[in-house]
């Protein structure tokens, strides 16, 4: 991969603590245009928390965020969206009582010349983008609480790609999807990548990760164990990073790498 110019996003020495728990501790990771970086780690490693700092959901205690090499001020989700950062949250973050189109456009509604909601135009766009993701989806008039888990996930994905994101964060986007829909999301990732969008992908499926990601970044107990290009490491080595925190030779160690006793 060519790397001209500064990274699209750079998270530098990010830390955040909840009460006594250091959910993210001095973590650094970067992302280039057209690149997929997978964030890996066991449950509670701090992956979601780290990306929520980037998406403006949490305020970091320390560290720096740079977008296109310039320091970015991200204090809330609106700021992040202004930088073209779109997020598919692990919890999906859908308003259950309104329909798919209302969710897709939540916070960015289309309005008519009179300033009123243009529901038909929103439904039209919703039908188009959902057709791309899940062509069999037809329940546009119903509140999303009545949809299946996978349909809800499709709505959350559609929302993230609707607004021409430059940086896409996907926190376990296929956890509830069937095989066909998962494959469709895989295709989508490749397509977005080709469009030059940078993607942070959080997943527990190591095969998916090796299929889609250019680099992996492994976290353990809030710290980065190491970062590696997928062609430089094997699946077993990555599993070793996740489970033991052991950094293989092909990876760049981070602060969380197990210190190998000099022998």
């Amino acid at each position: 991969m060519e790397r001209k110019g500064p990274p699209l996003v750079e998270l530098k020495n990010i830390s955040i603590a909840f009460g006594g728990i250091r959910a993210v501790d001095d973590a650094s990771v970067d992302l280039y245009p057209g690149e997929v970086v997978a964030l890996l780690g066991h449950n509670g490693a701090g992956k979601s928390t780290l990306i929520k700092i980037l998406s403006g959901a949490y305020k970091r205690d320390a560290g720096e965020i740079r977008v296109n090499g310039e320091e970015a001020t991200i204090a809330n989700p609106r700021d992040a969206k202004a930088y073209g950062i779109e997020t598919i949250y692990q919890t999906l973050a859908l308003a259950d009582n309104v329909d798919a189109a209302a969710n897709l456009f939540l916070g960015r509604e289309l309005v008519t010349a009179w300033g009123t909601l243009d529901d038909v135009a929103m439904e039209d766009q919703a039908r188009k983008v959902m057709g791309r993701l899940n062509p069999r989806f037809v329940r546009f008039k119903e509140p999303v609480v009545k949809l299946s888990g996978g349909q809800r996930q499709s709505v959350a994905i559609a929302r993230a790609i609707l607004f021409n994101a430059r940086i896409l964060i996907m926190d376990e986007p296929t956890a509830a999807l069937g095989p066909q829909e998962t494959a469709q999301v895989g295709e989508l990732v490749k397509q977005l990548k080709a469009d030059g969008i940078g993607i942070f992908l959080i997943s527990h499926d190591i095969h998916d990760v090796f299929d889609l990601a250019d680099r992996v970044c492994v976290m353990k107990n809030g710290q980065v164990v190491g970062t590696a290009r997928t062609e430089d490491v094997t699946k077993d080595e990555v599993l070793g990073m996740i489970i033991l925190g052991k950094c293989p030779p092909g990876a760049t160690p981070g602060p969380g790498a197990m210190v190998v006793a000099a022998a």
Binding site: N97, V111, K128
Partner: protein, 437 residues
Amino acid sequence: MSDATSTAPADRARSNELGPVARFLKATELDTRMLGMIAALLIIWLGFHIFSNGLFLTPRNLWNLSVQSSSVAVMATGMVLVIVTRNIDLSVGSVLGFVGMIIGVTQAEILPRYLDFGHPAIWVIALIVGILIGVIIGALQGYVIAFLGVPAFIVTLGGLLVLRGAAWWVTSGRTVAPMDETFRLMGGGPAGSIGATASWIVGIIACLAVVLMLFNGRRQRKRFRFPLRPVWAEFFLGGIACAFIMGAVWIANSYPWPIGIVRNYARDNNITLPEGGLFIAHGIAIPVLIAIGVGVIMSFVSTRTRFGRYVFAIGGNPEAAALAGINTRWVTMKIFMLMGGLAAIGAAISTARLNAATNAQGTLDELLVIAAAVIGGTSLAGGAGTVAGAMIGAVLMQSLSTGMILLGVDTPLQNIVVGLVLVIAVWLDTLYRKRMQ
């Protein structure tokens, strides 16, 4: 893109075979919950009519019912938004009392020092001052709730006590009367009604608006080639709505002025009373027009504006709304400001109707308003509710008390009945929602 949509099989569970009633409901897209409520209201009306030997369903009683419901109905429209966002406002009755005192003192004691008696600006200034104070009270409570994170229940419980005390302080408990002549029109009565001709005109305009709305909705959906309602269903809906509107106008126009007032009117205008007396219709009362106007505006705000969409999204999932970039605190604060303003309008109507401001005015109104919203289908769990439902709920509550007064039921028993009806109504609603899931 659209090719993919049309060729792929629909991803839905096999739907049940629809019976004729279900097909009808599907075609007209009528809200079955709202239909149930209207049916309940009609049953209550018929019941009272039969047991009172035909005293309930008379133009006179229905006209009075409409006037008596208007203040609570106005406030209930705001309570819907409050409850939809999982909040509550216990202070509306006290806000009404306090603002009523302010409105009374402004027009009866302060303004007459600077303006001539009956000056046309008096009622305008008094009303504006009242609404401003209402909005400010709402803003203060809303700020504490949204930005300082104190639960709405506690903040508005405090507001209930504080403002009831404050209402007393304004005049040390003295009742303020009388109100300005023009201001009093907001309370209804023969003068505060718009008469037969104007009522028909209002009815016709409302019918035209309904037709225009149906037409516009159809055109919008055509624009994107979305499925349309069958044409007969459109005509049916339009026909029913117009029949209802014109029927209501007809009833209001069937209630004549009392003989004494007609006599005075004839004397003042040098008309000789004909043999059988003169029939001068009330027509729609001004407070009812205000309530309907508020209802239309609030319906519009809650369904057709961004603000309304955010209110419902916050009610459905506050965290998701915040992550979508909605400034949830500011929206919450605005809802309470709106509620304060509506309570002030309620105060104007009720002081105008009483022709006085008393420090006990609006006591327990918060409960009527909350009950109206909840009976009208607003879910206390948040996220669901309609303005129209809350207004019907207000009429239903008022029907119960009016009907029981007609039947001569004692006040304690009235309270017992209203309490039971509230609980039963919400229980039925819970059953309904479970079935719909």
